[in-house]
């Protein structure tokens, strides 16, 4: 591998800009609305995909056509009109601004309070940035370090070209195309996403997030992520961003697949802050995500998520504990305010012996929102000595919101040990007065109480992200009492 220098990176960034120009050109080519086999074929062709990939998409599309959109989630919304969506439109270039002065002051204020650096603010608000030496060298160091360790981390569309054998081997093995309505749709039309491969015995030396946040602009409507941790490897992967993401795409249906081979560990953290819609709940993003990981012997997968955005969220990061002694963890904070609806939870499927899972779910509801936890713990007949501990806590603010817990437990092996705890509490007037009396105003008091409530989960996030997530919780609940 030839040396990758800062000059190379600068070159690359220049070409990227050119690429934008190129995309803008073909924008007029955006496909007509609607979905059929030709559209799927055309997407694949546009992306220059190999035949196997095209076939895979087509198969997914045929499955999707036969499927019905699920009804069972505890959420109510106007169904997206699937024939009313344009399935191939190149990333629209947002208007480039010349300085931060041109950015919506409200947005800037939020950035500031989140503690996002000036450079990053510019990037997020799409302000033209001169290449800043600092971030260039950081990115270069990242690329170099990853390269030296043999770690592959790139857009999945590139991986399909450059590492087809890996992608072909693992894509759809954890979330099969026919898994569910949204997964099938995603498989047929996914636009882009990330691919990550950690070779045997390699411990990824950095949170893949940092790199991600510097390098990736926005996220697509149908994202596809595939993370493969080979035997004995470790990776911590961070997805999302605390900065509020506004998006004209109402429907988001991502798929994330994790493969943890023998003795490997994957830590996958998400902070999601899609636009939740205005205070009346209009215009927010519908977020329907399928996330699942598979653990081989002695492997471990931890999902940690902080969800504050979206009008409607439907999301169940899951673990298939296939190998003996494998471990699955799910730590979640879901905040709903105003008219948001969230139906989230996890599925822990115990197949191997001595498998262990832990579920800690913290739901915070305010305003007129509805927050549901839906979890499945399934112990299969051959899973000797499986153990699960689940804890679902709900915190209510005010009288108009709702919290619901739906734990499903299926045990087919008598040696299983399962514990489930659930609590519901309310931020009390007495707690608020106590804080007020100590000089802490109500807004801050709520933040303090909510952070205390969420602590077990916040503690699982990488340090830097935890601080941002904490501020995000604060901002999400602003104005919810009083």
């Amino acid at each position: 591998m030839s040396k990758y220098t800062e000059d190379d990176l600068r070159e690359e960034l220049k070409t990227k800009e050119y690429e934008y120009g190129f995309y803008t050109d073909i924008e007029s080519e955006t496909f007509a609305k609607g979905l059929n086999e030709d559209v799927v074929r055309a997407i694949s062709k546009k992306k220059n995909e190999p035949q196997w990939m095209t076939d895979w998409r087509i198969e997914a599309f045929r499955v999707w056509e036969q499927m019905e959109e699920p009804e069972w989630a505890n959420v109510h919304y106007e169904k997206p009109k699937f024939q009313d969506i344009a399935y191939y439109s190149a990333p629209k270039e947002k208007p480039k601004l010349n300085s931060l002065d041109e950015v919506d002051p409200e947005l800037l204020d939020t950035f500031k309070r989140l503690g996002i650096s000036l450079d990053e603010q510019k990037k997020l608000a799409n302000v033209a940035v001169d290449i800043v030496m600092d971030s260039v060298s950081v990115a270069t160091t990242f690329k170099k370090t990853l390269g030296e360790k043999g770690i592959i981390f790139m857009p999945i569309s590139e991986a399909i070209q450059e590492h087809p054998e890996l992608v072909k081997k693992y894509l759809g093995t954890v979330v099969p195309t026919k898994d569910n309505f949204y997964a099938a749709l995603n498989s047929a039309v996914f636009s882009d996403g990330s691919f990550c491969y950690i070779p045997k015995g390699v411990r990824c030396p950095m949170e893949l997030s940092t790199y991600f946040r510097i390098n990736e602009g926005g996220t697509g409507q149908f994202e596809r992520t595939l993370v493969v941790a080979d035997k004995g490897s470790y990776v911590s992967y961070l997805e999302g961003c605390t900065a509020p993401s506004r998006d004209e795409n109402q429907l988001h249906a991502a798929v994330v697949e994790l493969v943890a081979m023998d003795d490997a560990e994957i830590k996958y953290s998400t902070v999601q802050n899609w636009y939740p819609g205005n205070a009346e709940g209009k215009g927010g993003v519908y977020n329907f995500v399928t996330k699942r990981g598979i653990c081989e012997n002695n492997a471990k997968i931890s999902w940690t998520q902080v969800e504050t955005g979206s009008a409607v969220t439907w999301k169940y990061p899951s673990c298939i504990l296939k190998g003996n002694n494998s471990v699955g963890e799910f730590y979640s904070i879901a905040v709903t305010n105003n008219h948001q609806q969230a139906d989230t939870g996890t599925k822990m499927i115990h197949l191997g012996k001595n498998t262990k899972s832990t579920i800690i779910s913290k739901g915070i509801s305010a305003g007129h929102s509805q927050n549901s936890y839906r979890g499945l713990v399934q112990i299969n007949s051959r899973a000797e000595n499986a153990r699960n501990f689940s804890q679902c806590d709900s915190l209510l603010m005010g009288n108009a919101c709702g919290a619901h817990t739906f734990p499903y437990i299926e045990v087919k092996n008598k040696s299983a040990q399962i514990e489930h705890e659930a609590t519901t509490s309310k931020i009390g007037e007495d707690q608020l007065f106590y804080c007020n009396q100590r000089g802490i105003d109500t807004e801050k008091a709520i933040a303090l109480i909510v952070n205390g409530f969420s602590k077990e989960v916040l503690n699982k996030l990488p340090m830097e992200f935890a601080v941002e997530a904490q501020k995000l919780l604060e901002i999400s609940l602003e104005g919810s009492v009083g």
Binding site: G428, E429, D430, Q431, F433, Y434, C435, N436, Q437, R438, G439, I440, D441, T442, K444, L448, I449, N451, G452, F453, S454, K455, E456
Partner: protein, 249 residues
Amino acid sequence: MLKIENLQASINDKSILKGLNLEVKAGEVHAIMGPNGAGKSTLANIIAGKEEYEVTNGTIELNGEDIRELAPEERAHNGVFLSFQYPVEIPGVSVTNFIKTAINETRKAKGLEDMPAKDMLKMIREKSELLEIDRKFLSRSLNEGFSGGEKKRNEIFQMAMLEPKLAILDETDSGLDIDALRIVANGVNKLKSKDNAVIVITHYQRLLDYIVPDFVHVLHNGKIVKSGDASLALELEAKGYDWIKQELV
């Protein structure tokens, strides 16, 4: 420092304070005693600004300023501190984090920067030593699973950290064992100066052996019906409240 005149207050249309007068000057210690349900905690809560209570008449002045319209946190910023009769639990928020937030919010209200971490640590060390609080205790969730006595000691720890102008101790002695009572009282005495004032609400003379009051008031049926010096507390201890109630008829 504090001047209350003809204070009348009610909750849910039930009248509790019925024309109460009290004046506390800087450097003074006042004890308020009185039978259960007399309105002592109500008075403390109203001074601190609890909004459930409706002040129907009278004035409350702090350093010459009418504070009736101030939010509880603003009163706290002005130096009012209430040691609660029943401190509440805040799960997941450590004692340290809580007091740090309280101090910095108060500083912010005064236009000051956050207290530097080094100073904060030093202060925490000093005050926890003063009150003989184990450092491990400070990392526990606020009041969660604390024993009755631990809760009270923690209230006084917060008072020591916040250095209020006017401290109201609502039955801080109840729940404290004999040694803890001495330690806490000692702490309160160390914090006393000519610039601040303390109101001690208690049922027992015992605490007043340590924190010697300049004035003792008897609150009965929403009013202060008798005031005197420290000897009044001894008299009450010996005779109970009946004789006062009879004097009133």
